[in-house]
């Protein structure tokens, strides 16, 4: 019984990290139809930013990682991806090329072996079965979701973002600068990946391939949650995080991923477009 309970914070914090990663993916995917394989490398960028800022303080690393990863996303969108709208499958291969380059760049800059980031004093220890570092990650995810919700529903810029996501052409005809909205969405989404990178330094080492371990699961969250849906991403991320950690606990690590895959396929039989669907009359 104690083992079952111990698994809970692990599952929830993995879900929280997946959520931070998937938030950016679900918006860029839902709004622009872009499948960004380089998203994993923004996580890595956030983690290495934390590594570089170790002496300065952990709380400085959070905004720094957000800005570094966000700017990388902004540049990627501005230089390459905006030429690819309407060709979602091509963006997948394009951004994979970008991801290869960024990984090699990290290897050349920081070396191939993993580096360790020392977690700050105040995040060591915990209350009962709840370690502080995992609690902190969950709090980070909750804060990010609240911030995104407030941005989308309480600011003019966020309203434009929702408009473009629901109907790009109509939004453009109504005078919204869709290119600007796209860039901003990319900045925020990539920045959140950077924040996820900061969170990951608390539970493991940092390496050039850090992003590749999470990107596939994060995409599954997007698929299960429904495109561009905040609620869907939250539920799917927590579900997948818990499913992952409990499947590993009850069977073994090698069967867990297969089980997760089977569950997702089964789930898509019931809800082919994910938990929450943006209702439109469009056919494809």
């Amino acid at each position: 019984m104690e083992g079952v309970l111990n698994q809970l914070p692990i599952g929830l914090s993995i879900g929280a990290v997946l959520l931070l990663i998937a938030l950016g993916l679900t918006f860029t995917f839902g709004q622009m139809g872009v499948i960004n394989m380089a998203h994993g490398e923004f996580i890595m960028a956030g983690a290495y930013t934390t590594y570089l800022l170790q002496g300065v303080g952990f709380l400085v690393a959070l905004p720094a990682a957000f800005v570094v990863a966000g700017l990388m996303g902004l540049v990627l969108e501005w230089v390459l991806i905006r030429r690819f709208y309407g060709r979602p499958l091509d963006t997948l291969l394009l951004t994979w090329g970008v991801s290869l380059i960024l990984q090699q760049l990290a290897r050349d800059l920081f070396g191939a072996p993993n580096v360790q980031v020392l977690s700050p004093e105040w995040l060591r220890g915990g209350i009962g079965i709840l370690p502080y570092n995992r609690l902190f990650i969950m709090a980070l995810a909750v804060l990010s979701v609240v911030a995104i919700w407030a941005y989308q529903h309480r600011t003019a810029q966020g309203r434009r973002m929702r408009a473009v996501m629901q109907n790009r052409r109509l939004a453009a005809t109504s005078g919204i600068n869709t290119g600007r909205v796209d860039r901003l969405t990319f900045f925020i989404g990539s920045g959140l990946a950077g924040v996820a990178g900061v969170a990951l330094t608390l539970i493991g080492p940092v390496g050039p391939a850090l992003g590749t371990y999470y990107i596939v699961d994060a995409f599954l969250v997007v698929v299960a949650g429904g495109l561009g849906r905040l609620r869907g991403a939250v539920l799917a991320a927590l579900g997948l995080g818990l499913l992952n950690s409990y499947a590993e606990f009850w069977t073994n690590a090698s069967l867990a991923k297969v089980m997760v895959f089977v569950v997702i396929i089964g789930f898509l039989q019931l809800r082919p477009q994910g938990l929450f669907v943006l209702r439109t009359r469009a056919l494809t």
């Binding site: 995917f29 139809g33 499948i35 390459l80 030429r83 690819f84 709208y85 309407g86 060709r87 979602p88 499958l89 091509d90 997948l92 291969l93 394009l94 994979w96 090329g97 970008v98 991801s99 290869l100 380059i101 990984q103 090699q104 050349d108 052409r169 590749t212 596939v216 699961d217 995409f219 599954l220 997007v222 698929v223 073994n252 690590a253 090698s254 069967l255 867990a256 991923k257 297969v258 997760v260 895959f261 997702i264 396929i265 898509l268 039989q269 082919p272 477009q273 056919l283 494809t284």
Partner: protein, 392 residues
């Protein structure tokens, strides 16, 4: 923006790409240029009709006669390996290029075929004892899963049956629910990731990270002998040729036209009374079967099958090879796999640090400048030449 382009009836031609190399064709204002763009199969006329078969025959002679004589055994073995990848690429060209299904998990089917063959070879070499790696990992009795693979007929059948059944199952579950496009790509990628973790974890059953290796005897032939390797090369080249012709026939058939129609307008095909899910599932299964055959040939040629050869990265690399070669033409897919295979070997020998940069830069350049790949560039050049001749 591709805003209103989908209102064109584009059943035969690939979907219009804004960044595609623009056909050097002055657009006549108001002219009835509905089909637009250079046709890859060439124009009418006897010359063009004979060009395809003649080129195929020439390539066949080079591959089957010239290459075995000209290349030393090591290089011939490398070429055989690339041709195995070309078989997978052919399947990707069919599923993705013709059918629009971006499959990022062909490594899974490649692996199923490869492991089926590897298990037979392992059992054959062990000659009634336990395979060596099982002894090392402390397995005492042959697992039940392995038993039937001692029979060569069963193992060879499984090379095709396993991938095809798996693809039929996945395709039926996914395409019936109209899960498509990027969703399908993500699911196949997740499948590849899951299979790798499964194979690595089941050390005693699959050989773990090392996979299955150390094969000595291939149906009575010594695998280390040059003559066996040369024979294997010929088998691989022949299989590729036969599968290529079969795929070409398939694309020309009514089924092939339906497939392309599904790619360009799935809903329209459904409204016409066809079932796109069946067309897609069957095509996906065919491409999986090809990958399985390729995996089975790969094992004796290269001498190993391991999780690292069939995960997310190798699967994606093959898709990219198809994109580089040209996804809309089957020949482009095959060419891409061979070219990228050579490029990888050459650059990782000569410039190991720069290879990943080069590979990444290459994808970006191809996707930005030539989304139809080498085949598209060739077609554009041909088009320029014919229009110049027409002008003269």
């Amino acid at each position: 923006m591709t805003a209103f382009q989908d209102s064109q009836p584009a059943i035969e031609a690939p979907p219009p790409d804004p960044a595609a190399p623009a056909p050097a064709e002055p657009s006549v204002t108001g002219g009835p240029s509905v089909t637009g763009g250079p046709s890859v199969t060439g124009g009418p006329g006897r010359r063009a009709r004979l060009a395809g078969p003649a080129a195929f025959a020439a390539v066949a002679v080079v591959m089957l006669v010239v290459m075995p004589l000209a290349l030393e055994p090591f290089r011939l073995g490398l070429l055989a390996k690339y041709l195995c990848y070309a078989i997978v690429a052919l399947g990707i060209g069919l599923a993705w290029g013709k059918g629009g299904m971006l499959t990022l998990g062909q490594g899974v089917f490649f692996g199923l075929g490869g492991y089926a063959m590897g298990m037979y070879l392992k059992l054959h070499d062990a000659g009634g004892d336990l395979p060596d790696f099982m002894v090392w990992s402390g397995v005492e009795k042959l697992p039940a899963l392995w038993g039937p693979f001692g029979n060569p007929a069963f193992a060879l059948a499984m090379v095709v049956v396993l991938p095809v059944v798996m693809a039929l199952l996945l395709g039926a579950l996914v395409f019936r629910q109209r899960v498509r496009g990027a969703y399908f790509a993500i699911l196949t990628q997740a499948l590849a990731a899951a299979l790798v973790i499964l194979l690595v974890g089941q050390q005693g059953l699959t050989g773990g990270t090392n996979g299955l290796t150390n094969f000595f005897d291939f149906f009575g032939q010594d695998l280390a002998a040059d003559s066996t390797q040369r024979g294997l090369y010929l088998v691989v080249a022949l299989v590729l040729g036969v599968l290529y012709l079969a795929a070409w026939q398939l694309v020309r058939s009514r089924f092939g036209r339906l497939l392309v129609a599904v790619r360009d307008g799935e809903d329209r095909v459904r409204f016409l009374g066809y079932d796109p899910a069946t067309v897609k599932t069957l095509t996906f299964a065919i491409s999986a079967g090809m990958a399985g055959i390729a995996g089975a040939l790969f094992v004796p040629v290269v001498g190993i099958i391991s999780p690292a050869l069939l995960g997310v990265v190798p699967s994606l690399e093959l898709v990219v090879a198809v994109a580089v070669g040209g996804r809309y033409a089957l020949a482009g897919a095959v060419l891409g796999a061979v070219v990228m295979g050579y490029a990888k070997t050459y650059f990782s020998e000569e410039l190991p640090e720069a290879w990943l940069y080069l590979q990444g830069a290459l994808f970006i350049l191809v996707m930005t400048l030539a989304p139809k790949g080498l085949a598209g560039v060739a077609a554009a050049l041909r088009h320029v030449r014919t229009s110049r001749r027409a002008a003269a």
